[in-house]
Each structure stands twice: as C-alpha cells, then as structure tokens.
C-alpha cells in the first residue's frame, strides 16, 4: 500500500494532489482522510461500489462540493483548503457526467462551445471545429441532444469537456449508460483520444473490468477510504487485501492449517516457507483451478458458458462449497463426471487470521521455487 506506482523517467510534479480530504454528510463520513496524487498525462481509474465516496471525491476536485478537512491542490495552487475555496469556474477542471448533462436547449456545437466564452469568438469557433473533427462529430454538430443516441451524446459530452483544454478531466461513470457492446468500443475510442491529447484524467467506475482496461493506475475505494492502488496488473494479480481480491472476481476460499513448511488444506498441501502458526485461508482465483490427470478428486456439479470463458462448478467432498473454475479452453466434461483438479500454486494467496475482509494477503512462498 505504501510503495509508489511506477514513476515515469521524467519525474513530473503531481498535477493533482489530494491530502487528507474528509467530507461528512450529516455526521456520516463520505470521505475519510483520502490522499491521492495524479501525475500529468496519467489516466487513473477510481473504482468502488456505489456509495463508496468516489463520485464525491470527483465533485470535490471539480469544486461543486465543499470539504470538511484536508486540502486539494491543482498544480501548485491550493484550490480548496481550510481557508481557501476556488470557485469551480476558474479551476479549469473538465467534468463529464453519468447522464452527460448536455444542455437540451443547445445544439451539439453550442454545447461544445459552452466552455469557451472567455475566448475570442473566432478562436473559440476554430477550437470547436477542431475538436468536432478530432472526434468525428461533424454529422451531429447541428443536432440537439434529444436527437442523438446515447453513444453520440457521450462523444459530444466528451468533446464539450475537452474543448476548454482542462488541466484534468474528471469522468463520472462515463460509460455506464451505454449498451454493453457499444460500451467497449466507446471506451476504447475515448482512451485513444485521451492518450492522443495527453489528457490527465480520473475515471470513476464501479466496473472492475472497466477499471483494469482503462487506467494506468487503479485506485480502489471502499467506505470513503482508498483501500488500495497500483497498476491494473498488480492490483489484480497480487492484491494486498482480501477486499481488493474479492472486488475483481469470484475467489475460492479454502481454510488451511500451517504445518512446518506446508499448509494443509482439504484440497491438498501447499509448500509455504513462511513460518505461520495460526489457521489461514487460501484465496484461489477460478483461473488458478484446472482439470488435470492427477490431483484431488471432484465431481462436476455445474457447467456454464460465459462467452469465451467456461465456468465449471466442482464439488469436492471435503469442502462445503463447490470450487469455481474458469477456463478459456473447452473441456469435454458433463455434469456428474468425476474429474481431478489441480491448482496453480503461484497465484494462490494466503489470508491470515479471521474473517475480517481487510486482512492482508501474501503470496505463498514456495519452498521449491528458490
């Protein structure tokens, strides 16, 4: 949790620095001592369940929400702190809304030009034309929002937010109103545009896959706190808390007893050189489960096709709950078949202690590996 994300060679000062921000609604903390740094050009995915405070944090950065403690700095300027509040209109922060908030009485072109009022008219028109061309919105430019599809509205909203060239673009669930198929395409296009323009962005989402796909860095929030942050790869493969592990996919949880350099469990013994004393739980992702020639016996109790992925439910006599297995290769098994199951020990995580979710996770320290 403490080590910094990979730093790019040219060390830039953070463009956004949030320090110990706290926000309460009626005494209930929506944000509790949140700190975050974002560097120029970075795309950060802010991930969490609804009500975890991620949207509140976004609104605080934009300046449409006040804080109860801490401070926020954009560049070297403190924009909100104990005795400072910079009005949102002069922060030059772009914001995209879940419902897009396109003004219904203005055309796409007028919407896009809405944030350029301080610019000379000709330059503003040129800027609008440029962004319309960049996002291929020519055919929509004279339409009103109600004449556009959801995807078109999304692109116009993006263009509008980008037109004033904000220091940072804040996006609140920008893809959640789109159909599934469309969503992936629009998401890819959006990221391409952001990358091409070198835009710094924070994207709020409750969709774990989306966060992994989008961000240079994923920041996971829960109950008003940042619980974990890191690259998508790291936060998925080696989450440091049970919470984070459970956020991204189903996890098979199996109790285990330390015994010397091994962990004994109902599904076999695993090498672990870390000297443990108390009972632990093994966190095994469905992808780490595989059918094998040798291994523990199990019976196929369910089989479901999830597109490219196949999910099997495997009942093991010694376990209360069936193991969930996911694979991209088609297995030739049917419900009721007896099979054998093996595990990818490299990706098993060990959770020490009781059932509290926030317990730390450590990888197995493989005796044979060294």
């Amino acid at each position: 949790m403490n080590d910094e994300p990979p730093i790019s060679p040219q060390v830039l000062p953070p463009i956004l620095e949030i320090c110990g921000v706290t926000r309460r609604f009626g005494g209930v903390p929506a944000l509790d001592n949140v700190s975050l740094k974002v560097r120029a050009g970075e795309i950060v995915a802010l991930l969490g369940h609804s009500g975890c405070g991620k949207s509140t944090l976004l609104r605080i950065i934009a300046g449409v929400e006040d804080i109860d403690g801490g401070q926020v700095a954009l560049g070297s300027q403190v924009v909100v702190g104990s005795d400072v509040f910079v009005e949102p209109e002069i922060r030059n922060v772009g914001m995209m809304f879940q419902d897009y908030a396109l003004f219904p009485h203005l055309t796409a072109r007028q919407n896009i030009g809405f944030g350029l009022k301080k610019m000379p008219r000709k330059r503003a028109a040129a800027r609008v034309a440029a962004i319309i061309e960049r996002l291929n919105l020519e055919s929509l430019s004279e339409r009103y929002p109600h004449m556009m599809s959801g995807g078109e509205q999304q692109r116009v909203a993006l263009a509008r937010a980008l037109a004033p060239q904000p220091h940072i673009l804040l996006m609140d669930e920008p893809f959640s109103n789109l159909d599934r198929g469309l969503r992936e395409r629009i998401r890819r296009e959006t990221v391409d545009v952001l990358r091409a323009l070198g835009t710094t962005a924070i994207i709020v989402t409750h969709d774990a896959e989306e966060a992994l796909a989008l961000g240079d860095r994923v920041v996971l929030m829960d109950k008003g706190r940042i619980v974990e942050e890191g690259s998508g790869e790291a936060i998925y493969r080696t989450p440091r808390t049970a919470d984070a592990a459970l956020f991204f996919s189903h996890v098979n949880i199996v109790p285990a007893q330390p015994s010397g350099e091994w962990l004994e469990s109902p599904i076999g013994r695993f090498p672990d050189r870390r000297a443990r004393t108390a009972p632990v739980r093994l966190f095994i992702r469905p992808q780490a489960v595989a059918l094998a020639e040798q291994g523990i016996p199990a019976r196929v109790s369910g089989r479901m096709l999830l597109g490219e992925i196949e999910e099997l439910m495997l009942t093991v006599e010694t376990l209360n709950e069936p193991l969930v297995m996911r694979t991209t290769t088609r297995s030739e098994v049917e419900i009721g078949d007896d099979v054998r199951v093996s595990f990818d020990t490299g990706s098993i995580l060990v959770c020490e202690g009781d059932h509290t979710k926030t317990r730390a996770l450590t990888p197995l320290v493989d005796a044979g590996g060294v």
Binding site: I15, A40, R59, A62, G63, V64, L74, G75, S76, Q77, V79, D83, V84, F85, V86, E87, P88, E89, I90, R91, N92, V93, G94, M95, F97, Q98, D99, A101, F103, P104, H105, F114, G115, L116, K117, K118, P145, H146, R160, A161, P164, Q165, P166, H167, I168, L170, L197, G198, T199, T200
Partner: protein
Amino acid sequence: MSDLALRPLRRRARLIPSGWAVFAFGVAVFAVLPIVVILTTAMENTGALWSHIVAGILPQATRTTLTLLVGTAVLVTVIGTGCAWLVTAYRFRGRAFLEWGLLLPLAVPTYIMAYAYMDVLSPLGLIQGVIRDLLGYSSPREFRLPDIRAMWGAITLFGFVLYPYVYLTTRMMFLTQAANLVEASRTLGTSRSAVFWRVALPLARPAIAVGVSLALMETLNDIGASQFLGVRTLTASVYTTWIVRNDLAGATQIASAMLVFVVLLIWLERFARRRQRYASNAQRSRAMAARPLTGAKGAVAFAVGFLPIFIGFIGPASYLLGAAIRRIEFAGISPQIVRATLNTVTVSAVATLLVLVAGFVVAYASRIRPGPWTGSFLRLSTLGYAVPGTVLAIGILIPVAALDRFIDRSASEWFGLSTGLLFMGSGCALVYAYTARFLAISSGGIEAGLSRIAISYDHAARTLGHTSTGALLKVHLPLSRTALTAAGLLVFVDCMKELPATLLLRPLNFESLSTLLYGEAARGTYEDAALAALVIVAIGMLPVTLLARVGTSSSDPVAFTDGAQESRSGRGIFWKTSGRRSAST
C-alpha cells in the same frame, strides 16, 4: 496541454456567503416585514389599551367572519368534491366541457361576483322582474325575493365562485390515485355507490382540505363582496375602522386578530399537504374507468355539473358583457376607464417583474446553496400568500409612511425642500404589497420548475467556466422558461384582480380597474364598473386556460401546466416535487 502556471486563481474566504444568499435574505426580510410590523404593533397595544371602537366591533366581526368561513367551507366542499367526482366517475355527453368549464369561476373575483348579482337580483333587476311578470305582479312592493345582501347571500356567492379550488385539488387526486383503489374496493365487494363514501371521499380528504384552505384564504381576503353585501367581516372592519373612522391603531388591532385565522388556515393547508404527500406516494396510475350515463341520466348529470358554471361564471359574465355593451353604446369608452386600465396594467406589470425576480432569487439561492438558511428564506418569502390584503396593507403602510416622513423631514432640513410622501405617492407601497402577497406563486412555481433541471447541468456549467450567475442566465433561465411564464401570468392576473391592498395603498387620485369598480358600486352609480369588471374577468380567464389542460392528455403542455398547477393550487411551496425532470430527454 495543461499549463498550470496560468493566471493566479481567484479565491474566496470560506465564511463569506454568496451574493445570491444575501439577496435571498433581503427578499425574505421584505416579505416578512409587514407581518412583523403588525405583530409588534399589536403587542404594544395590549389588552387594556384596546380602543373602544375595537372592543365594540371585534366580537361581532369575529362571529360574522367565522360564520362566513364555515358556511363557505361547507359549500365549496360540497360543490367542489361533488363536481370532481361527477366528471371523474361518470361519462356523459358534455363531460369534456364540464371538466375545464368548472374552472371558469376562478376568473371571477368575489367582489365582481357580488357586484353582478346585486344588480341582477335587485328588486328592480332582471330576475325578479321576470319572476314578477310570470306571476303577474306589477311592482316590487307586491312581491320580492329575500334580499341577497345578507349572510346567506354572501355564503352562496362565495361558494359558487370559490369551489374551483376544491374541484382542482380533488380532481387531481381522483385522477392520479383513485383507479387502483376503486377497482380494488369493487373486487372486495363495495357497491358502486358506496365507493364514493367509503373510498374516494376518505382518500380525497387531504386534497379537499388543501382546496378549502385556499378558498377560505380568498374569503378572508375579500373586502368588496362583504362590503357590497353588508356583511361586516373582520376585513371589512379593518377597512372601515381605518378609512371611515380614521383609527389606524384600531385597524391594526383588528388586523392582528385576523392573523389568528391566517395561522389556522396555513396550519390546515400544511397539515393537509403533508397527508397528501403520503397518499400520493403510490405510483401514478391511469384514470379510473368512468361509468357511462346515457339519455335522461346523462342530461341530468350534465345539468348538475353545469349549474355551478352557470352561477359562478356564465351568469355574471354575460350580465357584465350586456351591461358593458349598453354602457359603450350609451357613453362610449370613457377616458376614466382607459386611464384605470393603463394604471392597472402598469402597476401589475412592474409588480410581476419584481415578483419574478424576487422569486427567482430565493428559489435559485436555495438551489445553489442548499441549507437551512436559504431554505428558510424561501419559506419565509411565501408567507404573504395567506395574509389578507388589508392586513398586509397596514403592515406596509406603517413602515413606509414612517420612511416617507423621515425622508421628507431630512430633505427639508438639509436641502430645504419637501419630498412629500415619496413611496406612498409613487405607488411603490402598492407594488410592495403585490410583491409580498404574490411572491409565493412565483417562488413556488419557479422552484418547481428548477427542480426539473438536473443538478448535473449546474455542475457542467460551473466546470465549463461559468459563474453561478452565468449558469442562471445561460442554462436555468432558458430551461425554466415555461414555469416562469406560467408564474408570471398567474401573478399578473392576481395583481390585476387585487382589491383590498389596492384600495388602501393606492396613491391619491389613482384608480385601478378594481378600485374603480369598488368606488362605483359603493356609491351605487353603475357606470363604467361593468366594463372594468369585464376586463378583469377576461384577463382572469387566461390562467384558467392553463389550468384547464390538467388532466387532459394533449401533446406537450406537461411542463407548462405543471408549473401553473403547482403555483396556483400549490400557492404554498410546501409541495416538494419529486425531482421529476422534463428538461432532459
């Protein structure tokens, strides 16, 4: 792309409230000032010091007022609820006409109603003449109907002209709620006729109470009708004590006594609205299946529904039309009436503008800085709607006259010139009274209109570099245009119709249409009054056409009528809309 060493950012210290909140505070202070003045003045003159005039008048006037209120309440409940049920539960020839036609009496102020019927029903008038002819009498000495200038006459007239308040709220309730519950009760074995008593009526009780409280506020406010009909209510006593007996202190005391009624009515309305909100939590449902009535039954149903329209609108309106035509044929259009019309339109337009601006200030302030302060400013700004015009007028007269005297004295001391009654004489006091009285219509309607605009529009505008004032001009104003228009229309028409405050606060030699009519009726000279009344009724029909669209499923008047409906029947703002928004797609 981001160059952070841009211009230095402007900052503000935390504790300085925004300009909007400050203005909203100012509006609230102005709206509440007259009421505070009345109360403090009354406090100063406690018990033993009450003037003898008041001691003589107050008990009788209170009894009269109470009788009038109770009688009117009963009559508007019966007519309003009955008609609402008639056009909801039954289908017959002419129902579509009745649905909106039953709202028409809203266009007729009580004093015009009384004015028209006094003439029509006078012993020498049309009706009695026809009856005498039919019965073969030759002179009023041989036969006459009981004189309408009595309590029963007042109650009847008020009932037939104020029932639309109950009709409107109750019908909304029947339209949105009744179907499912009525059908459920039918399946549970309730007979068709028992449905009204066992289901519809209990269901409509809060709506009826809201409508009745609004009707009674109008009754309490009325000065013309009770004066014409010789019913000495509290309002009439305030006027006579002040103007005729020249006893301002006494008038203030009576006015403060009236505030008791006001508080009771506000309490009734708010209590009922809270109940109504519970009831309307059920999801919006289709209208109930109406029972068809054909032949004679249908004709009877139509006749029953037509009677209130005839008595409350068609009768007086056609009388006024006839009288006005005769007057124009006889004397042409007098300069007097032209001047009065101009006066009325000018003062009403200025007041309407002020009311809209003030309404927008309090509604917008509570939107952009939500909190207990701005919320209470919004609420306080609406208190005037329940306060009778006479009471409000006294509450305004006292501080404004004092200010006038102060300015006059200072001006004579410093510059050696007398300014006279600067604010009273210029009509400022009158505009103030209109503003304080009708602010609730605009702030309520505008608040309802704003609540349909998603808050993300505000945030989008702010993050795109617009100040909150800029956002107002470029986003909120265009998007709430319909609500604004509806509120403006309602306020304008109410200003035009207003009599009591106009009577008391108008500058010398200033006649509006309503005071012109009042003066002629009081003198017994029936000259231009009918024409003045006709103009008022004609303009008063404009908002009725708005309200009439409620419940009809025409194409896209929803936003417009919702605003009108809410600001009229929801004069108080205690009717929070549930965040519906029609602005976005």
